[in-house]
Symmetry: C2
Subunit: 206 residues, 2 copies
């Protein structure tokens, strides 16, 4: 079984790269599917799970999210509880034994025993801000400064989440097999280059 | 003209990767040649130039290195002076207009206007220590601890040298187009994977 994990800075295009990479390699793709599975297992609203796992935003999530019968589990749950569920979901993906690309969720750490190829995707701040502003809907026009602050906040939470389960530092080159900066690429062309690299790694002599 | 720069952690195998990459791509290769050129221009001993550019070791270099007629320049020169000379040498390589791989010497920063493809090469500490111990001659048997300290000292000096001329941080993913961790590779196989990636970058649509 071949697993590729994608960790990424917010706004770097890592999710798009992961999706395209899965298509190009013919691998399964997991991203939001993980949130959905956690939400179903815990009887919670997906948005609630997503926000809670973002960590930094924990305090800002109203407890009225979710269906009313889920109020019990909601009140009992903690971010830690959701992280346990996340681990179970990711381990079940690995147990299925199919080649896959997993975006985010510290899958590189959680599946270390399966020896995944681990990628970190980053970009220059200007490029990240531009991508976020393009992605935002018309009603969500934000200042450049607000977008940059949001990027930093989310990435900080991602780094913290990783630090809860690993000594290896989020975003540092040595923590991954490969780090790519998307700023000078069209993501479609980058996908081809990464796919070639990944394929070489899985077929290397060991 | 296509330029590839290799920055690297000490002991990561970055130099070997750079040499093999130049061979595979059919590019010129610059590494010690730069030290030689600086030493010749300044009328200094190569080892003196190398130690001085390492930075951290500056105070430990006896001024008696070098041929006696070079004593004048030796006394006048400072690390800053050598860095100026280094910049001139690297710029002259770029002016020659030939495709090349340049290892170290902050060439990625110095040649930013030529839009080089910039690679950072890292490895797990265990792998770096092993590589350094294998490389050491019989008479230089060092403890693991001493080797690790040496790696950290040299990398710290490299980071400092970069900070003198750039805001972009040494060793951080976002400072380079690509970062590779050599730990799980045979360098020959990694060279093929990197060559493929680099070739895609130079032929991408712009």
């Amino acid at each position: 079984m071949k697993i590729v994990t994608i960790s990424r800075e917010f706004g770097s295009g890592g999710r798009e790269l992961g999706k395209r990479l899965a298509d190009e390699l013919g691998f399964d793709y997991y991203d939001r599917e993980i949130i959905t599975a956690i939400a179903q297992a815990q009887g919670m609203d997906e948005r609630y799970v997503e926000k809670a796992l973002e960590g930094g935003a924990w305090q800002n999530v109203p407890l009225t999210y979710g269906r009313s019968f889920a109020l019990g589990p909601v009140l009992q749950s903690t971010q830690t509880g959701l992280l346990v569920e996340q681990r179970l979901v990711i381990e079940s993906i690995a147990k299925a034994g199919r080649d896959c690309v997993i975006v985010g969720r510290d899958a590189d750490i959680l599946l270390a025993a399966q020896n995944p190829f681990t990628i970190f995707v980053c970009a220059d701040m200007d490029a990240k801000v531009r991508r976020c502003m393009e992605r935002a809907g018309e009603g969500e026009a934000l200042s450049r400064k607000a977008v940059e602050q949001n990027i930093k906040r989310i990435d900080k939470a991602r780094a913290r989440s990783r630090e809860m389960i690993s000594d290896s530092k989020w975003g540092q080159g040595g923590s991954y097999h490969m780090t790519v900066n998307t700023s000078s690429w069209d993501i479609r062309e980058l996908t081809g280059a990464v796919a070639g690299f990944v394929t070489r790694w899985f077929s290397r002599a060991r």
